[in-house]
Symmetry: C2
Subunit: 399 residues, 2 copies
C-alpha cells in the first residue's frame, strides 16, 4: 500500500475544518491535490473514523456523491486563553467545541500566574474521559503581549518581560505546546469559525483591559519586524489628553477606550476615585448609561469617539473588507457600536467605500477557539500527532 | 540547443538589476535555479551582450570566478511620472539611469493633461538615437490616485474619475504600457535602487501636494480590498481642526502637512490670503523659517507635529523596519525631519524599538525610477520583449 503524504492529510483536514460537510470533488478542488491522492487519503481517514460519511448527494446524471465531514470527536486539545484578568482553560474537540471548561481569576504577579497555569492544565487533564485521554493531541495557548523570536513572552499587563512561558508549562504536561499572541489567535478564530470566513483582508480589534489588533492582509497575518505589529491600543489618539496609560504615555487609545480606561474616567469624573471607592465595573457604567446617567454617557461617548477615530485610520491605511470588534465592549454593544459606526463614517472621505464593522460572533470564547485552532493547525505538521489522530477509533462498550 | 525558459532569464535579470556586479555562484544562490540552467542562460545572455563580464575574482584555492553585470545599455524604457503639478518623461536605460528627460507643468483638467501626455511621449521617442530606438522595450507610468480592477484611473487632484488613461496613451505609442500607482512605484524604486534594498517591511511616505503611503509588509505591497490602501493623507489627524481638505473633510493630515496645505496656512495666518496674494511657494516658507520668521516656523511646527503623530500610528500598527520620506518636504529637510523625529519619539512607548526614519536617496526622480522598474519588471514576463532585449548587440560603426 503506497505511503500517504503528510501534506495530503494536512490539506484535507484543514479544508474539512472550515466546512461542515463537503463532497469528494469539492475536496479535490479546494485542496488542489490530485484526485488519486485525495481518494487514497480519504480511504485511510474514513477507515480510521477520523472523517465520516454523513450522506449522499444525487447529481442530475444519477451519480451519487458522498458527503463527508470531520469526526469532531476524533481528537482533543487543551486550549488556554490567558486574558489579562482571567484564565480560561478548555478541553475542546477537533473543531473547537468546548467539552469541559475551567476558569480562574488571574492574580497579578508572575509566580502566582504560573502556579495558576499549572493548576489549570492539571484540572483539564484530570477531567478527561478515558477515550478522550488517549486522543488528546496538544495544548494551544493564546497569550497577551508579544512573543519574541526566541519564544519568550513580554506581556506588560501580566508583569512578564521575556518570560519563559512555554518552558514553565512543560512542568505540567507532556503534550506538545503551541503558543501564539492573543490577537493572532482571535483573528484566526474569526477566519476559521467566525464571521471572517473566506475574508483575507480583515482586522480583529480586542477591546478589553487593553486594546490590540490582529490584522490580516492578503490572507497573511501582519507580524512586523519585532512581532509587534497591531499595537493599536498605544497609538496616541488624543495628543492633548492627560489620560495616563500603562505604557507610560498619555492619551493612548487604550487609556481612553479600554474597559479599565473607561472605569478610571468614570471614577475620576464622578468623584468616586477621590472617595476611594473602587468597586465600579464596566457593566455598571453601561447600566447607568441605559438610564441616561450623564457621567456614564459622557465616558461612553468619549471612548466611542476615540475608537471611531482609530478605526477610521485603519480603514484609510488598510482598506480592509471587514473589521470585527470583540472583548469587554460586547457588554455595551447596544451603546457603543452605533456610536462607533457613526463616528467612523464622519471620518471617511466620500471616495472610500465603507468597511463592514461588526462584533465577533464567537463571544468571550474567541480566545479558546483561537487556541484550539492553533493547536489543530500545528498538529497537522507533526507526523506523530497525525498518526495519533488517525489511529482507528473503536466504539466504547458500555454497560 | 535546449530551450531557455523565460523564468530563468527573468530570475537572473531581476537579480542583476539590484546588484551592480555578481558572480555566477551568487546568481545560483540568489535565484534558486539549478546551476546548469543558470550556465545555459548566462551563456546566451553573454553572447548577446545583455550581460557583460566585468572582471574576475580569485578565490583562495586559485579558482577564478567571473564577475558579471547587466549591460545597462542593452535596453531602454520610457518612464512617465505623473505628479500632481508636473509631468516628468524620461528615456531610461535598462537599470533606470536617465538618458533623456523632458518635463512640463501640468494644467488642471482632463483633456489638457491628455494632450500633454501624448506630446511628452512623442518628445521622448523623437529624441532617441537609432540604436536606442531598436531596443526600446516598453513604457512605465507612475500615476497618482488609484487604479481600479478594470484599469481605469481615479485621481481626484487631476480631475480624473474612472479615466481610461492607458487607452488614451495608446494613441501616442505602439509600445506596451505598464501602469501603477505612484506610491507603489515609489516604494518599489526604494526597494530596488534606493535605501530600502533588502528590506521587506518598509513604508514610503510621499509629502507633496498630497500625502500618500506605499506600504510593504513581509515583502508584499499592501493593496487593500479596493486597491485603496495607503490613503494616509486622509486620516483625520486633528478632529478639532477646521483645515479644509480636497476630499471634503476637515483636519486631514494632507490638509495640515502637505505642501499645498502648508502654503494655505501660511497665507491665512500672514493675511496674504485676504490680500489676494497667492504667489507664496513652499520654498519661500522654508527660507523665511531659516531666518526665524515666526509665521513660517509655526506652520512648519504644526505640519511636522501632524506628520510625527501620523508616523507614530504607522509604527505602532506595522512595526516596520524603515520609513522613508520624500516629495516636496525634501526642500525643507533641515527644518522638518528633526522636528518629525522628535515628535515620533514622544509618541512611542518605551517597549517599542524605534523605526529608522530617513529621506529618500532617489530625490525627485523617484517616480521615474519607479516607472522604469515597473516597465523592466513587466517586460521580464513577456517573451517578445525578452527576445528583443536579448537580441545580439552589435557595435555601431562611427565615422
Amino acid at each position: 500500500m503506497p505511503r500517504i503524504a503528510l501534506h495530503w492529510v494536512k490539506s484535507i483536514l484543514l479544508t474539512l475544518y472550515q466546512r461542515s460537510a463537503i463532497t469528494r470533488d469539492e475536496i479535490v478542488r479546494s485542496t488542489g491535490l490530485n484526485p488519486a491522492s485525495v481518494s487514497h487519503a480519504l480511504q485511510r481517514l474514513l477507515s480510521s473514523g477520523t472523517i465520516v460519511k454523513v450522506g449522499e448527494l444525487k447529481s442530475s446524471g444519477g451519480r451519487r456523491r458522498e458527503v463527508l465531514k470531520l469526526n469532531p470527536e476524533a481528537g482533543y486539545f487543551v486550549a488556554v486563553d490567558l486574558e489579562r484578568t482571567r484564565i480560561r482553560y478548555a478541553l475542546t474537540n477537533l473543531v473547537g467545541d468546548i467539552r469541559y471548561r475551567w476558569e480562574q481569576e488571574l492574580d497579578v504577579g508572575m509566580d502566582v500566574a504560573v502556579s495558576n497555569l499549572l493548576r489549570g492544565l492539571e484540572m483539564v487533564q484530570r477531567n478527561l474521559a478515558p477515550w478522550q485521554s488517549s486522543r488528546l493531541l496538544a495544548v494551544g495557548i493564546s497569550c497577551p503581549g508579544f512573543i519574541h523570536e526566541d519564544g519568550l513572552v513580554t506581556a506588560v499587563n501580566l508583569g512578564w518581560r521575556r518570560f519563559p512561558l512555554a518552558e514553565k508549562l512543560k512542568e505540567a504536561t507532556a503534550l506538545p505546546l503551541f503558543l501564539d499572541t492573543a490577537c493572532r489567535a482571535y483573528v484566526q478564530a474569526e477566519r476559521r469559525l467566525g464571521c471572517a470566513q473566506g475574508c483575507d483582508s480583515c482586522i480583529y480589534i480586542e477591546i478589553g483591559k487593553g486594546i490590540g489588533a490582529g490584522i490580516v492582509t492578503d490572507g497573511d497575518y501582519l507580524d512586523g519586524r519585532d512581532h509587534m505589529a497591531g499595537e493599536f491600543g498605544h497609538i496616541t489618539i488624543d495628543p492633548t489628553a492627560a489620560d495616563p496609560c500603562n505604557c507610560g504615555k498619555q492619551g493612548c487609545l487604550e487609556a481612553i477606550a479600554s474597559s479599565s480606561g473607561m472605569v478610571r474616567q468614570y471614577k475620576d469624573v464622578s468623584g468616586l476615585s477621590a472617595a476611594g471607592k473602587d468597586h465600579v465595573r464596566l457593566s455598571d457604567i453601561f447600566e447607568d448609561a441605559r438610564k441616561n446617567e450623564p457621567v456614564a454617557l459622557s465616558v461612553i461617548d468619549r471612548a466611542s469617539k476615540a475608537l471611531a477615530l482609530g478605526l477610521s485610520h485603519l480603514i484609510m491605511i488598510f482598506n480592509p473588507a471587514l473589521i470585527i470588534l470583540g472583548g469587554d465592549l460586547l457588554q455595551g454593544e447596544d451603546l457603543m457600536v452605533p456610536r462607533i459606526k457613526r463616528g467612523v463614517s464622519a471620518h471617511l472621505p466620500d471616495f472610500v467605500r465603507e468597511t463592514e464593522i461588526r462584533v465577533t460572533s464567537l463571544g468571550l470564547d474567541i480566545g479558546l477557539k483561537g487556541a484550539a485552532f492553533l493547536a489543530f493547525q500545528n498538529s497537522l505538521t507533526d507526523p506523530k500527532l497525525m498518526n495519533k489522530l488517525c489511529a482507528p477509533l473503536t466504539e466504547e462498550i458500555t454497560a
